[in-house]
Assembly symmetry: D2
Homo-oligomer: 297 residues x 4
């Protein structure tokens, strides 16, 4: 006899673009907010699965409509603030739901003129907001933050077995395409200022500390965040090691062709994948804040 277990459903990847304009002043500057919005509902949806009975199910199409409507009705002062409003609305509209989760990716644009923009590229700002009947959690984050140190990184003293051929490295390139997520303890946060502070803490720690392994660097980055920024309970990292291998010129019959840490091949696959969590001592855990969040240990 089959039993339905955990389940969730929603609409993924609504591409919501909000232009903020003053309708009465067409010459005033516009602002642009560019989002990829996903929502999921969890709760008592057994009838939909077992009996094919949909009366408790707010359609995913409606979830999408609400995401667009709330870009106007509530506005998007930050992805977190918008996701909180959207999550609360979806939960309220769906009595059978116990939680509504809203996941947002924000793409940044630079201004060219009052009404013209160029997409910035680089990292994508993210948030995952989980609104429950009793508690609400906000996890902010970023992804695709590609960083590289051209020195100040070693890897040695590791465990060796009969399949180990890796040489110890005193000086190597360290690079990763970072995914980081951090959980806030409260909801009264200046989300945009907080984002900038965390990003700065991550980058400055990466740039200024010596690395004996990507693990150590991640731990230092996470420590800096939870130790110096109040209100952040924990940080989680997923960091693919973007290997840069020194090119071996020894087989080339070319005069003066040496390679003292100068020419590397950037490899695609395979890649080391380092994942860890760093918490502030004494911070309360929150399992439900991380449910369904991809790529974390």
């Amino acid at each position: 006899m089959a039993v339905l277990g955990a389940n969730q459903y929603g609409k993924a990847e609504s591409r919501v673009v909000r232009i903020v304009r003053d309708v009465d002043r067409p010459e005033a500057r516009h602002e642009i907010v560019d989002l990829n919005v996903s929502s999921s509902l969890r709760g008592d949806f057994e009838a939909a699965h077992v009996d094919g009975e949909q009366s408790a199910v707010l359609p995913t199409d409606t979830q999408k409509n609400t995401a667009f409507a709330y870009a106007k009705l509530h506005g998007v002062s930050s992805p977190e603030d918008y996701a909180l409003a959207l999550g609360r609305r979806l939960l309220e509209a769906t009595p059978a739901a116990q939680t509504a989760q809203v996941r947002v990716e924000q793409y940044a644009w630079n201004r060219l003129a009052k009404h013209a923009f160029v997409r910035r590229g680089g990292e994508v700002r993210t948030c995952v907001v989980t609104v429950g009947r009793d508690a609400t959690h906000v996890v902010s984050g970023l992804q695709d933050l590609v960083v590289l140190k051209s020195t100040g990184s070693e890897f040695k003293g590791f465990l060796v077995d009969e399949f180990t051929t890796l040489a110890e490295a005193d000086d190597r390139i360290l690079a990763t395409s970072l995914v980081a997520r951090w959980r806030h303890e409260g909801l009264e946060v200046d989300w945009n200022a907080s984002y900038d502070e965390v990003r700065d803490a991550l980058l400055s720690t990466f740039a200024t500390t010596y690395s004996r392994a990507l693990q150590e660097t991640l731990y230092l980055m996470g420590s800096c965040v939870v130790d110096t920024l109040p209100g952040i309970a924990e940080v989680r990292f997923s960091a693919p090691n973007r290997h840069h291998f020194l090119v071996d010129f020894s087989g080339f019959d070319a005069q003066g062709l040496t390679n003292e840490g100068e020419v590397f091949v950037a490899a695609d696959r395979p890649y080391g994948l380092i994942e860890c969590q760093v918490s502030r001592e004494g911070a309360l855990p929150a399992v439900e804040a991380w449910l369904g969040v991809p790529g974390f240990c």
Copy 2:
């Protein structure tokens, strides 16, 4: 004060291709096995993070080497069997580890001739094997299984609020790109035969049952697996709803241009995302079998 939490590390996406050949009989048929192999170790790696001390760390490069070596030393009779051997080896080689997880994707090839093959395409077979000091878990699966029903699917009777504009559908296209994973209770399994049985159960249920929602169809598919195939404790699905919208020809000034369920636009984004778990009643849960497995609720 920062505290290290859960962590894991390993090598992702080693592209291991194994040709089985009889070296003494060059004219005999070859077999090909084509894998994408990832491994992760969890355990007591605090020194690597906190002190930058690597003596407990089996390098990800060694994990990769072992993946290639075991394709020869152990062979690949099935992805599950290979992953079990590789996981056991990695755990044995790394005293600090508590578990070794091996994730495999297998790409299928069709034979053209004794030594020539064409890649089949279609779904990718997967497995996630977690070898612990006390228990070992095998989760088999598939991904990218794109299925479509051109009738026999409705969606109606759903919850309506002020943002709901979706019309009820008596007859629609139902399509998804399915990810399914199922957990075996034991390790004495004919993995290849079992895979074929589950795949057949999933496809025949999809093809032959009426659908009142993708949720119901997934539940029926999962029920068929746990009810009819002994040794499968649970199935988990992640199913993006690949929407096919009926094209509206009403604005066209063209004689005889009607659309009675005949012309659809296949949409990319947004998409409904339906996820659920179906267990056999009484089956023991196994949280550790699913740690770090992406895309499941």
Copy 3:
């Protein structure tokens, strides 16, 4: 002073799905045709560019609408036949155009039941039809055809300079993800039968001939097509060499670990890229048939 040169415009990647059903017999089998359709118009569109004056411009939105409408009005017995009808319509509807080009990708499905299907994967069938005021050209093709020979391939006797470190190979894996396109001389063709014939010729030549380089194999494949299949004037190939490197086990301290052509690493980048054209002697060239077709020399 700036001068406008060649230009074209159109709608790319309309995802047209056509279900063929008998409305009066709901229980009869359905057929599915799954296409990605792009169209482009060339001609005298200088006013649109230089003066911003659009009166000669059939909107790309209309091109899309027509692609969907023609899936019903004309039907899709083959991508070529559909593309010819669509191209003729777009040219007729746009007096300023000199040519209409329609590019189609077709995704194959296997039948599960009368009304249920599973996407096949593997190669994608393509066509590029260019309809002009005076001449019409049909280029059929395929892409993503991944083939591999596990023996019967060498590469030696090549040019050597001071940067050459590659060893000669007597026996290697040869693999490619083939893009092939072939031009028909006429329009009275059984397109589906012809496609199967060309695909078979390509695969059987790949499978049964010895390879001294991918160049030679491509030439043999193309020769087989133009020599044995009447009405094909030329074939063009773009073939990334999917390198499979023999894994070096010499550094491993593991008994009996040899590698006699048994374990390979499949590499992503970089890759050799081999492109060539093969024509039937005396066939008339047709430059306009290939305008804007990507990836060919």
Copy 4:
């Protein structure tokens, strides 16, 4: 009888990363150059195709080796300068070749510290250099430059047929992910300064001109480049129209929910694709500079 036509071969996508460092001054600032390098040779390679005879063929592996070696031996003051040196070397090393083409993509990084960097994202700088026995051509470019105007764009007065349903737009969002390439007449160019000038010309024209169609905007952008920047003979654009559709709130029963150009859905597919060339009057054409360059009419 089959005849070999045009053909080319080479190594694609070598990921060359060059760190510029002063070995004697470890504390001095590093520079990073991050490239994706492809090369192709054309010429008399008939024996390789027809006879399987490789003596004229410089292996693609050697081309890759040379790409890495030249990152050190010649250095990378600009992608164009590096590609010229590499192309000349490959042509010199391969007597059978008539031309060597080198294609480079450059990924930009921002500095974090003396030895630490963060990848910038945004557009990718490109060049295609074709070195022949008699003439050499340099085509510089960029891709993935995503720009958007939130007003100042219309589309109306277009051709209407029975499949046209598009409404005229007085005020719409105009957005594209631009690919642009421009051909230099000479080789004595400050490549980095020139790149900045062209990029600035493209962006400022996009930002400051009114658009009656993407065609007009591209023509204005190209005109600005060829009219104001000496030494640029022609510009070619490939511009997918990234449609942003105004969301229709009329079906929502929500007070005050209007949409005066404020909330848009960013669509993926289909998309308009506009391509054109703009030349300086009197500039000599150069067909061979564009051979094999993808995505241009």
